[in-house]
Symmetry: none
């Protein structure tokens, strides 16, 4: 992984430059409603975003690449200026960071699903009947109480949500070249833990994981549903260059959901408090403002409503953020970016590959329309903008980048 978005000898100013707020509405981009031809963002009444657009450069963000539908991890890594393909991160690491676990270099993490095995050891339910959060937590606590970690290895199990948990192994000489044990469908046995890498570290770690999963089956033998774990997404943590090292920015993240705090932590942002609501997110931003250079704030409802196929719900979620915008502009940041990590059109009900409407408000913007929407952004000054280039523009608009060359 290398510094891909900026020429490598480009000098980034220190902390003397302007402040940057990056406001992310998850899954912001949409598709036109058949009845009106207007997207969710275009259907929403957004007087404050529209006014902001009028003093912004507009464009369409391409988070990963043409036709590529980004998961939340790659989507946010792109927003933070990393090439989402070169710097692709394993799912296990992302999950561990998401639950707030402080990974150290060399830690190996994997996602766990609780599953139901029958008497023959065949998977009958890959989600163990989707236990409640409370029941899932109880199962993890039972395992933690009785598990005997292999010599020299620290084993951490953290409940995530329902049937999902995270496994972290810490110790010398671990490797993450390990195949998933999830057979991906019922009627099959869990796959044995097999090293895919030829390195001795991965081979050794596969043995350790097998030992842990075997112990789990013994400990959970009497459970009716969650009587085993399936493991996938093995990944070794290696730290990313931080926002401070890469951009000279002291950065803070305000996000209600652990996943987004996880990615922010990965790139060295501070997390100081967890907001309980959208207004609380803005209040926390107000509290932090002035103490950092870069503020990442995340709103999730736009994506959630779109996954529900709820066009009007997504419209309402956008309007809720619009209503909060005056409190954010009142902070008078030097640069205010509004964008999404990907599109989630309510009609499509999933993340999609479509470009994301994006604005960069600053004194140095080239405005082109008094409306924030897919149609206006399509004709904006930024054109179709590779996701990983957004940070360069943020720094430029904050007058934090030196001239390149004489």
């Amino acid at each position: 992984m290398s510094d891909v978005s900026l020429p490598h000898d480009l000098v980034v100013h220190g902390v003397g430059g302007g402040s940057i707020i990056m406001l992310v509405m998850d899954g912001l981009g949409g598709l036109p409603h058949p009845a009106t031809g207007l997207t969710e963002l275009e259907s929403a009444s957004t007087p404050h975003l529209d006014a902001l657009a009028g003093r912004s450069s507009l464009g369409m963000l391409a988070p990963v690449g043409n036709g590529i539908t980004p998961g939340s991890g790659p989507g946010h890594l792109a927003l933070f200026g990393f090439d989402p393909i070169e710097s692709m991160i394993g799912r296990g690491v992302l999950s561990a960071l998401g639950v707030g676990f402080r990974l150290q270099p060399g830690d190996v993490a994997a996602r766990l699903n609780m599953a139901t095995l029958d008497g023959d050891g065949v998977v009958t339910d890959r989600r163990a009947g989707r236990p409640s959060d409370e029941d899932g937590r109880r199962v993890i606590e039972a395992v933690v109480a009785d598990l005997r970690p292999p010599d020299g290895i620290e084993v951490t199990l953290i409940h995530e949500k329902e049937h999902r948990a995270v496994l972290v192994l810490r110790g010398a000489g671990l490797g993450a070249g390990i195949a998933d044990t999830d057979p991906q469908r019922t009627g099959l046995s869990p796959l044995p833990v097999i090293a895919t890498g030829v390195d001795p570290e991965s081979a050794r770690t596969a043995g350790i994981v097998q030992n842990v999963l075997d112990q789990v089956r013994g400990i959970l033998g009497k459970e009716r549903q969650a009587n085993s774990f399936l493991a996938r997404g093995f990944a070794e943590f290696s730290p990313y260059p931080t926002f401070e090292a890469r951009y000279g920015l002291r950065a803070v993240a305000v996000a209600k959901y652990p996943m987004y705090r996880g990615v922010a932590t990965l790139v060295g942002m501070s997390v100081d408090g967890v907001p309980s609501s959208n207004p609380d997110t803005v209040e926390m931003l107000e509290g932090h403002f002035g103490n950092y250079d870069f503020y990442f704030i995340h709103f999730k409802d736009t994506d959630s409503r779109a996954h529900d196929g709820d066009f009007e719900g997504k419209v309402a979620a956008i309007q809720e953020v619009d209503a909060l915008l005056p409190r954010i502009t009142a902070l008078d940041p030097d640069v205010l970016i509004v964008t999404g990590d990907h599109s989630t059109p309510a009609l499509y009900r999933e993340h999609s590959w479509h470009h994301v409407p994006t604005l960069i408000a600053s004194s140095w913007a080239r405005p082109s329309a008094d409306v924030f929407g897919e149609s206006s952004c399509r004709g904006g000054d930024l054109g179709v903008l590779p996701g990983k280039d957004l940070m360069s523009l943020a720094l430029a608009h904050a007058v934090r980048l030196d001239k390149y060359g004489a």
Copy 2:
């Protein structure tokens, strides 16, 4: 050559996804007529293409790169999702595939021009007076009848058109690092066959080619015009990843001209029948529809008329395709793409570097105009689209691509 358009661990769905038709009007992009300011496509009456645009994402395709005028080979390779520079194919191989010769890995192919040499062995006509197809065929047959292939080497000569033919060498240990023998102008002797590569295979093959060309001069000694061959574009065939391996698409090509069937064959498309006219092309598509996942159909007249400098002829060729469009949309493919492999503006009379108007019609499109033309595509949702990214978008719109990352 690698899979460049998709991140390498992106999962491509199998045959469960939607159907895709890619309609290529060769050399579609144009330049505005001085009298009207409208391009050929904008001047044409295209009610069906315009209606299709109204339910499409629009954009401007950049087949190879800014300022780069693509030949038909690179232009089509880009449309098929290959980086046209990394996956550049030698002209000899393209010609051999174009005449329908079934190349095997390791075959070395070159293009041949019949030429006229005077008594001193100096080239006086690089095209041997442009023989008729019939006369050209007779010359090739004469050579084939008398040529004695070097030991262990299979030599195939195929007449292409007029003064043009293809040479294919087959045998163990051949190399294609061989310079052209065409001196590029009259008054000079043909260049000797020289290996440019340092590999022994190319050196040995250069000797074989020299032997063949010397024999040809002997055999054709009594011809008044076509008394020798000039060879160029030496290339060794190595197979491309097929559409099925690369995208999970069973693909078929319907194209009147051998060149385009050749490129399609190269990427593993089936060719089942050769249409004799434009309506016949559509009829053959109708016959195939349902048996494949991906249908490439090619219309040539747009390019031919533009090479003639015939603005109105190109307009008429576009209108002819427009009139056939209802039969194609009646098939109700999940994705219908209309584009070109490059621009051939009638005013320029040659292939050009200009972007190519492109539409992707699907349920997941973001329409922006009810007109298909350079001006409307310029403002479309796809922006300026690298040619090799078109296939990713085709797959995405057919809901055949998994999400990238968690």
